[in-house]
Amino acid sequence: MRNDLLAEIFRKSLLTRVFEDRFVRLAMEGVVPPLLHPGAGQEVSQIAAIAALEDDDPVLYAHRGVGYMVARGVSLGAMLADCAGRAGGTNNGKGGIMHVVDTAKGIFGESGTLGGGFVISVGMGMAAKKKRTGRVVTHFFGDGGSNRGTFHESLNWAAVQKLPCVYICENNGWAVSVPVSDSTAVENIADRAQGYGIPGVVVDGTDPDAVLDAVRVAAERARRGEGPSLIEIKVVRLRGHYATDPQDYRPDAAEAARNDPLETLRARIISLGLMSEAEVASLQAACEAEVEEAIVEMQAQPVLSAEAAFEDLLV
């Protein structure tokens, strides 16, 4: 990977981490509801995956974290406004952090029912194919979401139609409090690709080069009209299911914390000489300042009119 791209993935991952940790404190303070599912541990691979796509390729994201939105440059202040019930958000108070949307940046939303987005991605792929837009539709989901029946229906039909879709499973080993070994019959979710006659690969979520390469290969195949691919990224979940979940059910939390991909990337950036320790520290400070500015921006917005409850239903 080019050094400037690696540095950019690091910057966005760090910004995501800083934003989410600050979000959790805002939730403790009661400024926003504690409904964020932190993506800590998954940011690097989310951002590396999106770096492999064109800037306007549509993305249907998963519920864990905002790395996808930061990757595409969605306004942090707007996302906070969505959560704080203020004007200036992306979804007019309807969807909080779960349904951030910015179609100009290719952020096409999320299903609140986990695994409910697979079916949407199939239709978007059908539209891209029929309209010959050249766009690739990427759907992110978790190991938990992969156990919905929609996974099977969607990957099967996407494969039959050779749709320009890329399916990216972020396997963090936990569906809320249930370990993947208790819920999933195969070790690798990517193995299921065989059942649809499509490529299925497993990549290490601490290795942004591997993620970038896998998604590039899948996106190129999709753009050539050869159909969808399934990529499974093995990642770690560093936080609870939601912002204030103490995750007492996890015996592996300490081990996960020792495998933080952001720390691995930080060390690599320094060892490659892309940044000094001092430069990393000042980047961290810049990210913190950007998040504080976003909070000020959100707080400057008026509280949403309650009448918004009646808007945005029918055209």
Binding site: M98, V119, G123, M126, G149, T150, W157, L313
Partner: protein
């Protein structure tokens, strides 16, 4: 004026919509090669090609959900579910995705989707017999068509395909072979406009599709006895034209809803509740409902006819109401 069948009217609506707009696609189980298990899409794949009219796997969730995604992506999909009962098989996709994807994303998307839902009891068993439109009427974000005549079947389907909102389109299977006049020059009837199918002053009957036909036959029998009843066809259940019913009830003072859905919390329950809220001073007689008693619909013909409201029951109910 021409006279055509209800199924031909639906086929013409699809044909014309495909011809008018390149973005219209039609898919579902068996709609391509076969032309649909009820023959509604006959000839369309040959005419418009497999890219626009195509078969699908037996995967109701992705059929409806992909319709939402394709609509978001700029197409105008028309999805056939073989039986209206499968509305519930695809519940997440119908109620949350079609009904709420736009809302939950703050109006960022339009969802111009039509799901065609052949309904009605023909002895095919509990999962292939129902008229589940009350679920749609209950849930926000969905439009709901229940055409009763060939003219309305064609007009409402064309309007549904042109609409930028998701439409659940119920076609009654026992009406497919019924015939009726169609005026190709007539303006399209908008959503939310009921029609008075027969005028009368002694009671108001609200019914649609098969039950409308039974209500009209009952009205003939009652007229011979000197009981003139008004029969209203709502045409769409969402939006719902309550005003036309209110106007009629102010005149007649009595209202009966006849429906092929389950009685408990059905469409009739909603109409009755609204009359109670808004028209109590005008009701001289208790509001009445005829519907499927709250049991599943079996397959033996005797079981089906035992629970479907009949002309005789409608006649007896109106007699009793107006006594």
């Amino acid at each position: 004026m021409r006279e055509i069948t209800y199924s031909k009217a639906l086929n013409e609506a699809l044909d014309e919509a495909l011809a008018e707009d390149e973005d219209v696609i039609v898919y579902g189980c068996d709609v391509g090669r076969w032309g649909g298990i009820f023959n509604i899409t006959a000839g369309l794949q040959a005419k418009y090609g497999v890219d626009r009219v195509f078969d699908s796997p037996i995967s109701e969730n992705v059929l409806v959900g992909a319709g939402v995604g394709a609509a978001v992506g700029g197409l105008r999909p028309v999805v056939e579910l073989q039986f209206a009962d499968f509305l519930l098989t695809a519940g997440d996709e119908v109620f949350f995705k079609a009904g709420m994807w736009r809302f939950m994303h703050g109006g960022a998307f339009k969802v111009p989707l039509v799901v065609r839902l052949p309904s009605g009891a023909t002895g095919a068993g509990p999962e292939h017999s129902t008229c589940p439109e009350a679920y749609v009427m209950h849930s926000p974000g969905l439009l709901c068509c229940v055409p009763s005549t060939p003219a309305d079947a064609k007009g409402l389907l064309k309007l549904a395909i042109r609409s930028d909102n998701p439409v659940m389109f119920f076609e009654h299977r026992r009406l497919y072979q019924t015939r009726g006049p169609i005026d190709d020059e007539a303006p399209t009837v908008p959503f939310g406009q009921a029609v008075v199918r027969r005028e009368g002053r002694r009671a108001t009957i609200v019914a649609w599709q098969l039950m409308l036909n039974r209500a009209l036959k009952a009205a003939d029998i009652l007229a011979a006895e000197g009981l003139e009843v008004e029969v209203i066809d709502p045409r769409t259940l969402a939006p719902f034209d309550f005003e036309t019913i209110l106007t009629s009830v102010k005149k007649t003072g009595a209202c009966l809803v006849v429906e092929e859905g389950y009685r408990r919390l059905g469409v009739g329950a909603e109409i009755g509740a609204r009359l109670f809220e808004e028209a109590l001073p005008y009701l001289d007689r208790p509001f009445r409902r005829l519907a499927i008693p709250d049991v599943p619909i079996g397959s033996a013909p005797a079981l089906v006819s035992r629970i479907l409201p009949s002309e005789e029951e409608i006649v007896a109910t109106v007699r009793e109401m107006t006594r």
